[in-house]
Point group: C2
Chain length 338, copies 2
């Protein structure tokens, strides 16, 4: 957490008053880790949560596991996803498990209702029950299992911080973000996998290197190219119908990849600009991170101000249950002035 209060990134109005506000930090870096734009504390450690799933997936490609099991681009996108639990997501996760001879119960993530509200409603109306495949992280976990099977390691305990699969992920994350892997504080994520805290500027640097990998090893460049292509060609597999990542990737500069994380985190890699972006809202609100990221992408010229995505996620209408306009969710003055 910041040692002093971060600036207000986003405010929510009702009538003529600001009813609520979200403080936090934002940072834009290049692949050398140089800070191009910043607001707030970008050095205290924050958990990227699901925002860095593409970094966690690098060993899946680099180890040869993705090739060995003939993973499709859709499946690679799912390995980087916080998916909505729509039928096509569940099918892709099941396909990954089938390719490695694993079962749903081998996944270490717990079951939860689909993250997508329509998918959740459809499941309940059909009187269905969520399985581990519906967990928004099931693709990431299936990817971890692919790595374990490919390495000939035990699949039991693949989610533990000492397992070779997690060690490989931690190493790749540290290299990409420019920090010693062992120096990153460890937390348990919502899906039971370890998560590694780092300064927000390190997360932005890692994403800048996804956007501009030319100084990295050939193997890493190839893995990044494959994952970035998979996600940006199949953004719905990395996210879900109507959700910000999918909607923004459809309208942003070609090749742009964005990824939401729990507790108010969001990150973006913009190859056309060679930049990485990271946002953390102090209070953990997704509505804050979503608006801050969309406003930043517009400011950077990575998202057209008149695009459908900008209209959906910058200046978001706050309505009541019968649809009247009550207020707006918008970028605060400090973010606007960046």
């Amino acid at each position: 957490m910041p040692s002093k209060p971060n600036p207000v990134l986003v405010e929510i109005t009702r009538g003529k008053l600001v009813e609520s506000q979200h403080r936090g930090a934002v940072v834009v870096c290049d692949a050398k880790g140089r800070v191009k734009l910043a607001l707030g504390d970008i050095v205290s450690p924050v958990y990227p949560r699901s925002a860095f799933k593409m970094l966690q997936a690098l060993p899946l490609v680099e180890s040869g596991a993705a090739d060995a099991f003939r993973l499709t681009p859709q499946e690679l996108s799912l390995a980087c996803a916080s998916h909505s639990g729509e039928p096509f997501h569940v099918k892709a996760a099941a396909s990954m498990l089938k390719k490695i001879g694993c079962k749903t119960d081998d996944l270490a993530c717990g079951p939860h209702l689909p993250l997508g509200s329509k998918a959740a409603e459809a499941m309940l109306r059909a009187r269905g029950t969520p399985t581990k495949l519906h967990n928004n992280c099931s693709g990431k976990h299936a990817g971890f299992l692919c790595c374990a099977v490919h390495a000939g390691a035990s699949i039991k305990g693949y989610e533990r911080v000492g397992h070779i699969v997690q060690k490989a992920a931690r190493k790749a994350i540290g290299e990409m973000c420019g920090i010693a892997p062992a120096s990153m504080p460890v937390g348990i994520d919502g899906c039971a996998a370890p998560n590694f805290a780092m300064p927000l500027k390190a997360l932005a640097t890692g994403f800048a290197r996804l956007a501009d990998p030319l100084r990295l090893s050939d193997g890493r460049q190839a893995a990044i190219a494959r994952l970035m292509s998979a996600v940006t060609t199949h953004p719905l597999y990395e996210s879900g119908t109507g959700r910000e990542d999918a909607v923004v990737m459809a309208d942003a500069l070609p090749g742009t990849m964005t990824k939401v994380g729990a507790e108010g985190v969001m990150a973006a890699a913009i190859p056309a600009l060679g930049l990485g972006v990271a946002v953390k809202v102090d209070d953990g609100a997704g509505r804050g991170a979503g608006t801050a990221m969309a406003a930043l992408l517009v400011k950077l010229g990575a998202l057209p101000a008149r695009s459908k995505a900008a209209k959906a996620f910058v200046n978001v209408a706050v309505t009541n249950w019968r649809g009247d306009l009550c207020g707006v969710n918008r970028a605060g003055a400090a973010l606007e002035a960046l």
Copy 2:
């Protein structure tokens, strides 16, 4: 919004780090409006949202409407409720409408899935569709309609700020909170009724007068006694199964009434201490207001530290989808030091 950053009321940990935090203000007042305890900005206007529903319901009793239509204590509790949309809530709202010859469609609030997650799941599994009766504010709106019918006024537009029903509510709120009704900024609430902003200490004062009404008129004292008795005898009608208000009222000092509001508001009236309490979390997070209020009630001696309610809402475990402990949602140092 506060002119300078409010203190951290609540923090959410993961592993050894604080992952997210909630800033805000809290205040404890007596019935004369004297501040007994305070943290943060208690003078800038905030919308109480649903927290002040009992104040909005005062005219329902004072006008004689509640008597004329023989409203039961359960129905009066529902008039002060943000209910969970469980079957008994819906039945009570329908009963209120029947008593005044109104129909579900006369309610101005829009339909939404039950606020209670189990009630929502049950509705979807039964392939049901939410009606306006399921809106968490349907009891408040049915109460407004009772007032309109009793006054012989038009029921159409009863939710508009200029309607006599809303004027009466605004007058009662102003009197209780010690502010000129016309001076309160107006916003449209999630249920389409007007909401009136006020300093947080005014909200706490209004609740202190619910707790200690002896200096008020006989008619108001009688109305408060009736509503306080209705809610504290039937807390499930004012809230819902397992929700904080119902759970806290079951364990707190006899007669204590608490009420949640949207966007991080919570208020409490403690007759045994003659005090009112109000909390507003700047970022609007209910998890922040809930923990702050529970911690405050324990601090004030209004809730036993070893009660089921305190265990449920102070130091709340943060778990992942398979149930592992990942962190804790707890009061911050500033609140602990109060």
